[in-house]
């Protein structure tokens, strides 16, 4: 019975030591000698390179490193790593990748510097993304009835299309201009144009466009789109006009 138990224990120890040997094998180039060796352990070495060393923010950089004779290997800012390997990083600012390899016999380190150039500030994302033509093809004006600032049925449909384009281009900012026909009083038409622009803005907001992207300006009858003196011209002038806010 005892011999059987001893045999069982011995096999456990063997398995444990085997597992230990396999686990340590990743970190050590050579498996340790089975009994505590009295021989001198060589000091660790470390090398690291970055490719390329000068990038602009967001670009990929490949780090490659190799160490020898170390039990504890890490790169500052990344953490523990294997004895040798490669990793891709995306530095947003200039960084020193500092590799440290340690063992009971000592330590070694190496540094790779990556310089990150900041890109020129973006002047206007609006016009870069959507030009005037694209904007006006997709964001169409709405028209109003005489002396009214309520959105008509056709205008509601237009606003839905406008809003879906604007929701798909979330950096585009818009001036909502309120316009009136030439009839009636200058001051009253400016207030009426304000109500028209507000109605068009509110419809876009209801359709999901953030109010921060919409700026309202009333033009009343100051900037007539159509210069004629008949109803077809007046109708063109009674509008809420959307334009790119640059």
């Amino acid at each position: 019975m005892i011999g059987k138990q001893l045999k069982y224990l011995a096999s456990l120890v063997f398995l444990a030591s085997l597992a230990l040997a396999v686990g340590c094998g990743k970190k050590k180039t050579e498996p340790p000698p089975p009994p505590p060796p009295p021989v001198v352990t060589p000091e660790p070495t470390a090398e690291i390179t970055a490719t390329p060393t000068v990038v602009t923010a967001g670009d990929k950089v490949v780090l490659a490193w190799r160490t020898t004779n170390a039990t504890d290997i890490s790169i500052e800012g990344i953490g523990a790593v294997s004895a040798e390997g490669t990793q891709t990083v995306n530095p947003t600012a200039s960084t020193n990748y500092h590799l440290v390899a340690r063992s009971t016999a000592g330590s070694a380190d190496a540094t790779a510097r990556v310089t990150v150039n900041t890109p020129a500030p973006v002047v206007s994302t609006n016009t870069d993304l959507v030009d005037e033509n694209t904007f006006h093809q997709n964001v169409q004006d709405v028209f109003f009835d005489y002396d009214s600032y309520d959105l008509r049925g056709d205008a509601q449909a237009t606003v839905s299309k406008d809003a879906s384009f604007l929701n798909a281009h979330s950096t585009v900012k818009v001036v909502v201009g309120g316009y009136c026909d030439e009839r009636g009083s200058t001051e009253y038409n400016l207030a009426l144009g304000e109500n028209r622009a507000n109605a068009a803005k509110q419809a876009l907001v209801t359709a999901g466009v953030s109010p921060d992207r919409l700026r309202v300006v009333s033009y009343g009858k100051e900037k007539q789109f159509c210069a004629g003196h008949d109803e077809s011209c007046w109708q063109q002038n009674r509008r809420g006009q959307f334009s790119l806010d640059k």
Partner: protein, 454 residues
Amino acid sequence: MKMTTLAKIRYLTCASLLLLCFTVLAGPPPATAQDWVKTGTNLGVERIRLALADFKPASPDPQTPALKNTFDTTLYRDLSSAGIFDMVSKSMAPTVAPGSPQEIRLKQWSDAPANAAMVAFGAISVQSGRIVVYGWLFDAKNEQSPQVLGKQYNEAATQDNARLIAHRFADEIILRLGGGLNGIAETKLYFVSSRTGAKEIWAMDYDGQGQHAITHLGQISLSPRISPDNSRIAFASLSRTGWAIRMYSMDLNRLISWPSAGGTSLSPAWSGDGTKLAFSSSRSGDPEIWVADAGGLNARRLTNFRGPDVSPVWNPKTGSQIAWCSGRTGLPQIYIMDSDGGDIQRMTDGGYATSPSWSPNGQFLSFAWDRKYGPGAPGGQDIYVMDVASKRWLQLTHDAGRNDFPSWSPDGRHIVFERVEGAQSEIWTMLADGTDQRALTQSGNNSMPNWSWK
């Protein structure tokens, strides 16, 4: 018996009221229906018959004839447009130029055909670069003690000063004979003109002379309103960020800062004491009437109703009421309210009514009204006056262009307004009963006149 008499009186009162309503409502009213407006506008029913003698040239200086001509013309026009005189026409007046009280023979003027009750006369000379004027006003029917007025003026010899002296002498005569109200010959008109390209704020004398630009902003500037002390002009101007109230200092000859609260701000209006401005602002999301200190601080909202609210104007007599234009029920109508926003009354009963101006005595509103407004409707946009207490109204312009932006003169006897005929917009003036209409501008597009307070 007693009851019957009372009933009869009641019946008669009702009938006369109905008749009155009928006369007011029935189109162009007969002359008698205008008595209330004549009395209320200080125009009077009976005019004083006044003769103006040509002034005597009293120096050989070669400048004299040109300055004398300007002086005579200006003085005659000031007096004839004052609205309180029945001027003796030049063809009826004696062809003499009495230069002093010793030289005038009053009988010449009081007899037919002149039949003058009063006569103004005097002498004008140029002495070492100065223009010197002696002017008198005599009661033509009082041989014993005829002098009503005697004045002397001395200014640098320029055409402008010849006009200025004429204005001053005219205002003295009007003050003396016009019930103690100051004349308006030295007042100014502020308006919008696009004759240099952009719509800028301009100024001119009350008779259209001396037109000049005040602002040079190159933007659209509208709705000039001069402060009661003539020191500042408030107006509305369109910049990249939208419409804002701007303030121009007449003392510094430049814009001075006025806080902007964002949103569209329009149509400023000074209170009579110059301490407050009412204006339209959409800072809360909808155009409403707001009031702030003259410096723009402590703004508070007076109206709270969806739809356009614009063009406020204070009752200059009391400062306790504001009239304005609101589209809360559809087409714009004239309303009045207390200056704290309470007690709102609608004044017009339909059509398209805009641009109110409150008469200096507080009795009347003038405004633009198209009573049959609508697509294809035959109506015209005309100037009206309304008695605030009774809401009786009188149409002042008829069948002549589209008329807008009336503004009362400080004496309450005149109204300046904008008339658009075809594509041409000009400034016109008239007496507050609609008579004596004259164009003050002839070139470029001119609009939105505002009469100075003094």
